[in-house]
Symmetry: C2
């Protein structure tokens, strides 16, 4: 019983689709944050649920950890096999199994990405709205309970996964949920697996809610004198019940970065809101009018509109490039990116304290936020060869977690726990964290699935 | 160690707030369906979370089952202590603890009812939208994952509970979730307790999402020649993305019952849709125009509008009285009410098959439905003194469950499992049902909390 033995047995099942080639291992040990490269012992590429079940059974017998892998865009080290074992690369299971246009749902394998799915859906008049920025796999997005720019309107993965097929730690295959829009038939296992970061099961199929492509879409950016005015505008907008599709903050540091990244942006060096309206032509016009009045009330500038599809795409590409734009602000740096989420009434306070602390430190850290949800991010730019800087950045991030809890919020709105936030779970959840561990023990008693993440069971 | 001993010990803690008086026991053994009166051994009235924790600890030590009780409006026998023990009446814990208007949330104790909450909220411009018909307690609604007429717009309890305080089966008190709008910090315990029917913990506090009272509300009824045309209109409406606040079906039998119940209704003897629009004045007008076109396309009649508040209230009171109107169609009858939920594309088929089977039986059974969700109900009217009739009604209900599963749906959209649907859980969930049992064992190892419901652990 060993990892090596597991890999030998897997070769019989998967042939060349299990590999220990160094570049592949290194690739599956990468991450988009500050964690050191942590290669697994092997990488497997299953092509069916049955193969996943076979792999899990073998690994369970051999005590070999299994860490599911999508495209590696998670930000807290979720997919790093830091206890060794097998990286289970799901990207070959990337088919759309059924588009049920009448029911506004789609059944997919976990390895398809959100952009890939939306390309295939284009002709149907439907789309899958969740947009975390990265072109992540749907399986990975479900596993981290991803959300992003559109959650303020369409919810998170929690709200948009109807049903799952999951391979458990002993190789059993279960189905959770149905294609019906709601159910009261027992415990909500779908919600339990969504956000479990691969620690309770391997997602092998997802049924997702779709939404109609809006008749009209309109986007704009708008500058404010300070972050407080941005946030006050957002709070008022949410309270008025305006069904914003997106309402995003970028602080002055981030705007400087975006201007440098994309010369065409050329925005004034002030905090901005990036906003988008979805609806009928009349509805969008009405929303824009309401929000325009609120912007004026809080001293914001004129809307700079992007109504043509290509202009809108450019605007949101810029917003999505925030991570890379931030990284480019300091050539050669690593980015320690972190997110917290607080009740919206405490958001201005949370951002102001965070910004002040970053300003007082030697580190740059632009701030962007899905402010309609009370969620914001910092991208702390550190010299990877300077341990002192990493220490300062980590301390800033820890203070953000502390602040989130003090203000009644959560240590992560959307990035998840992974390795980076593990030590804060007890702080946030108290005894409820021990219940999470009890659930893990009940469902994965051998601790085969992504061990060491989310809960402590040893 | 015994139930009797538990009751004696509880008297020391609760004094007169634990009782074995026959009328009180009988009252807590009632239900609104066909189940026989099943009195508990005692009824306790806690007034604080600490008292609930003390009660649970004593009951755990004595092996005394605990069945939480709200106002007894659940429909599948959830709150019946059919293994004896303590009915935990939560109605004295009925305070609003905090209204956070800026954050659109409210913190309440579990014993407050939804109408009680909305009365208190009226001056804030906010409301809690979930409306299962009965004026149920919020704790009970969370425990059964209730939904009702407005779920098509505002979601179910799953979507509107942000956080919980829960007393576990060993008396520990945990908190799940936060007041932030979203989180990726670990397993979604809130979703696990919502819909767990008191089998995993006793809910002692809830944080609920609120919504802004819409600027404009408009309601209407509209007749169609057949149920198929009703359902086709609903499907088209949902697919167009019209943000319906309510869209409800009543079949011809139900309309006959409603006319008899409330002489002022006087609706033509045809299937009807009851609809409601929420939004800005302009938005509501636009929605009404779109739906009006769809109604015409599917051969529906003119809208009969109810725009004045009192007319709207009368219309929805009539819809909510469907249960009692159905009961009045056959004096002295018991109602076997059951619900299933299917993908909306299969809804017309599901209703047509069900109606045909009821028509071919000797039993009357009007149909109503939250058709925007694919969810519908039958109220099967049986003579309580005729075992043959109850047998036929049960068989009709079992066939509905079978039909729901065949059409890709669920055995219950909103009523829950209780006693009535327990034997169908394995059919719907397969191995996933055994996982539910594993979770129950992990969280309530002594099987103290509402034993025998939702899962089998013996």
């Amino acid at each position: 019983m060993s990892i090596d033995h597991a890999i030998r047995r897997l070769r019989h099942v998967l042939d060349a689709r299990v590999t220990t080639a160094r570049p592949v291992l290194d690739d599956h040990g990468q991450n988009e944050s500050y964690f050191a490269v942590t290669p697994p012992d092997a990488v497997a590429y299953p092509e069916s649920t049955d193969e996943v079940a076979d792999i899990v059974r073998i690994c369970a017998e051999e005590g070999c950890p299994i860490v599911p892998w999508g495209v590696g865009t998670s930000l807290e080290g979720h997919a790093l096999a830091f206890r060794g074992g097998l990286s289970l690369d799901m990207t070959r299971m990337n088919r759309i199994l059924a588009v049920n246009a009448d029911d506004l749902d789609v059944v997919v394998q976990p390895g398809i990405t959100r952009e890939g799915l939306n390309r295939e859906l284009r002709a149907t008049g439907l789309f899958f709205p969740i947009d975390p920025g990265a072109d992540a796999t749907l399986g990975g997005m479900a596993a981290t309970r991803a959300s992003g720019t559109t959650a303020v309107r369409y919810g998170t993965m929690r709200d948009n996964v109807l049903a799952l097929e999951v391979v458990l730690g002993d190789g059993r295959v279960i189905r959770t949920g149905t294609r019906a829009r709601k159910s009261s038939a027992g415990y909500d296992l779908t919600a339990l697996f969504v956000g479990s970061e691969g620690t309770l099961g391997v997602i092998t199929e997802l049924t997702l809610r779709l939404h109609g492509q809006p008749e009209a879409i309109s986007s704009a950016v708008c500058a404010f004198d300070d972050v407080d005015a941005c946030v006050s505008t957002v709070i008022a907008t949410i309270q008025m019940g305006v069904p914003m599709a997106r309402i995003e903050l970028a602080d002055t540091a981030m705007i400087r970065g975006l201007n440098a990244w994309d010369g065409a942006m050329n925005l004034p060096l002030k905090p901005h809101l990036f906003i988008e309206f979805h609806g009928s032509h009349q509805g969008v016009a009405e929303q824009a009018e309401t929000v325009g009045e609120l912007v004026a009330e809080f001293g914001g500038g004129e809307f700079r509109w992007a109504t043509r599809t290509e202009d809108r795409a450019a605007l949101w590409r810029a917003r999505h490039d925030a991570y890379f734009a931030a990284k480019a602000m300091r050539p050669g740096c690593r980015v320690l990116t972190t997110d917290i989420c607080v009740p919206i009434s405490r958001l201005a306070e949370a951002i102001a304290e965070t910004a002040a602390e970053i300003d007082a430190s030697p580190i740059e850290g632009p701030i962007v936020g899905h402010v309609g949800d009370g969620n914001f991010h910092t991208a702390l730019l550190v010299d990877p060869n300077d341990p002192e800087e990493l220490k300062i950045a980590k301390s800033l991030a820890q203070n953000m977690n502390r602040r989130a809890l003090r203000l009644g919020g959560t240590i992560t709105g959307e990035h998840g726990v992974g390795i980076g936030k593990a030590r804060w779970m007890a702080e946030e959840h108290g005894d409820a964290w021990t219940i999470m561990s009890d659930l893990k023990r009940a469902i994965d008693p051998n601790n085969i699935l992504n061990p060491g993440k989310v809960v402590e069971v040893n």
